[in-house]
């Protein structure tokens, strides 16, 4: 699957000029609110007509302003999950789910009701009306409704943004399953570092209508300087690992990553399962010698490969730990005290308790580098 977008569009004073191409399984369109992500995704869906440009999905030209091509939204076979679910109030959950199937040519219906209902855990909701669902349930039904139209591409526009933390944690595993079990490419719009780090195989980062970075998640999410201001404290290294073993006597799991073994609170996954972790830069300490008499369990040796000025008194330091990059955010004072320089050998120190549900999730099965 490939998505190609190359458009320029004006909305009053705001201009969007974006070009990107993605072949990943879940591509995140990431950036602060007002950066044009939602406009872009609406253009892919056919809800907004771009002023100028070209959009292709899987080699099929959906928009080509030069040739006067604009495929209407109902002929694109592109599913969309909106931030506000948009379930039809006059139909039951089952009616909502069946809606798109109706308009799909019989030969192209790959999504099966039972599979989707099971995948999203919405079997007990089928007879209810949308008004009687919680926010999380609504969003799961909306995902199921889009899937059952058997789309060639699934767009998700900030599907978790209007939910509280508990509901987000409830839905994230379903999106991971969707990414790993259904063979459908996803474009996922979000302004949240946590969601993007956890879910995406590729990231296109946007700011003020322009693409500022693009590529594999681990690489793009290292660019802490590009993160939206309100998300900067969430930024950190994204590592793909797998479960090595569980240490039930202490309620922990040991992960194998390129950077070495990492101990995290007990995960509900089998040994060998892929895991995606995000190590927030502010959670990482730096030691110049192998620390002793320290409670932190994860001590990763590495070499400083980049030092970048952070906000206020901070500096962001990138440490190459055996091929995997770990980011640490420390004060400029600490940096000078420890005389940290490029090429210096250091130890990145991470507490086990700094890992929580928001920064550990299921990894992408085929993308393991460990």
């Amino acid at each position: 699957m490939s998505v190609l977008v190359d458009i320029s569009h004006r909305l009053g004073d705001f201009a969007i000029d974006a070009r990107f191409e993605s072949g990943g399984r879940l591509m995140a369109l990431f950036g602060p609110s007002g950066s044009g992500k939602t406009t872009l995704i609406n253009m892919i869906a056919g809800l907004i007509r771009p002023g100028k440009g070209r959009i292709e999905v899987d080699g099929r030209v959906l928009v080509d302003s030069g040739a006067g091509i604009f495929v209407p939204k109902h002929k694109r076979r592109i599913g969309m999950v909106f931030q506000d679910a948009r379930l039809f109030p006059h139909m039951s959950v089952a009616g909502n789910l069946r809606y798109g199937r109706w308009f799909t040519p019989p030969g192209e219906r790959y999504a099966d009701m039972d599979t989707v209902v099971d995948l999203l855990g919405i079997g007990s909701l089928l007879d209810r009306g949308p008004a009687k669902l919680s926010g999380g349930e609504k969003q799961r039904v909306a995902i199921g409704r889009a899937l059952l139209a058997s789309p060639k591409l699934l767009l998700m526009d900030e599907p978790l943004a209007s939910l509280d933390e508990a509901r987000k944690a409830e839905i994230l595993p379903y999106i991971e399953r969707l990414r790993d079990e259904m063979k459908i490419p996803i474009v996922y719009v979000s302004h949240s570092v946590a969601e993007v780090s956890r879910l995406a195989s590729d990231v296109v980062m946007m700011a003020q209508g322009k693409v500022v970075a693009g590529g594999p998640t681990e690489a793009v999410m290292q660019r802490l300087d590009l993160l939206p201001a309100e998300e900067r404290s969430e930024g950190g290294a994204v590592l793909d690992a797998r479960v090595l073993r569980h240490d039930d006597s202490f309620g922990m799991s040991v992960l194998a990553s390129a950077a070495g073994e990492i101990r995290v609170p007990r995960l509900a996954m089998k040994a060998g399962a892929p895991v995606r972790i995000r190590i927030r830069a502010r959670d990482v300490m730096i030691a110049t010698q192998q620390p002793t008499g320290l409670s932190a369990l994860n001590i990763l040796p590495g070499t400083i490969v980049a030092i970048g000025r952070g906000e206020g008194p901070t500096v962001d330091i990138a440490i190459d730990c055996n091929g995997a990059t770990v980011l640490a955010r420390i004060t400029e004072q600490s940096r000078q005290m420890l005389k940290l320089q490029l090429g210096g050998h250091v130890f990145a120190v991470v507490k086990t308790v700094s890992f929580d549900r928001a920064n550990t999730g299921a990894g992408l099965p085929s993308d393991i580098h460990g």
Binding site: I78, Y99, R145
Partner: protein, 234 residues
Amino acid sequence: MTWLLDLSPDEWNAVWLSIKVATVAMLFSLPPGILIALLLARGQFWGKTLLNGVVHLPLILPPVVTGYLLLLTFGRRGPAGAFLAEHLGIVFSFRWTGAALACGIMGFPLMVRAIRLSIEAVDRRMEAAAGTLGASSLWVFVTITLPLILPGLIAGAILAFAKAMGEFGATITFVSNIPNETQTLPSAIYTFTQVPGGDEGALRLTLISIMISMAALVASEVLARRVGRRMGIE
């Protein structure tokens, strides 16, 4: 009670005729009513204000004027009347069909207003969502828009029906007051008041008129509530 139902054949005819005329007027104005309401709610075209004005004319003109205009247009020698009679065999003048036409026109602005308001209240994002699921504009209208405006449709239809039940001026001007053909309830009541000793008959028909209108109103309330409950948006 027996006194109330002790009607002469002519009076019964007036009751049935009124119901028939009002029902036909309501049913036939629904499709154009929805169309015009859609145009006014969503269309952007030159002359929209003019169309809006024309639709509302029957509401502000004296009914006699509307009736007379109908007579000029749809009468036997009127341009539209002659054409319809010749090519389609539809005759309006001095027929119950003419009464239905007059009642439909008089109730039209009320119906369009109610439907237009409900169309404007429709969340268009729902329609966009239906589009991404593969529904063409026509299917979106049938499966999403129409069901969502159902309460407005019911309200508009009942308003038109009630208006038709009470229409007098335009009807009597256009199709006169012929027993068994164009004499609706209001015309019959009017006739009773013009003859000595007609008070009792006038009162009887008045009570029946009130009952029918009340029944229509209650029916619309029940229907609207049922639709609202189904959508969980009471």
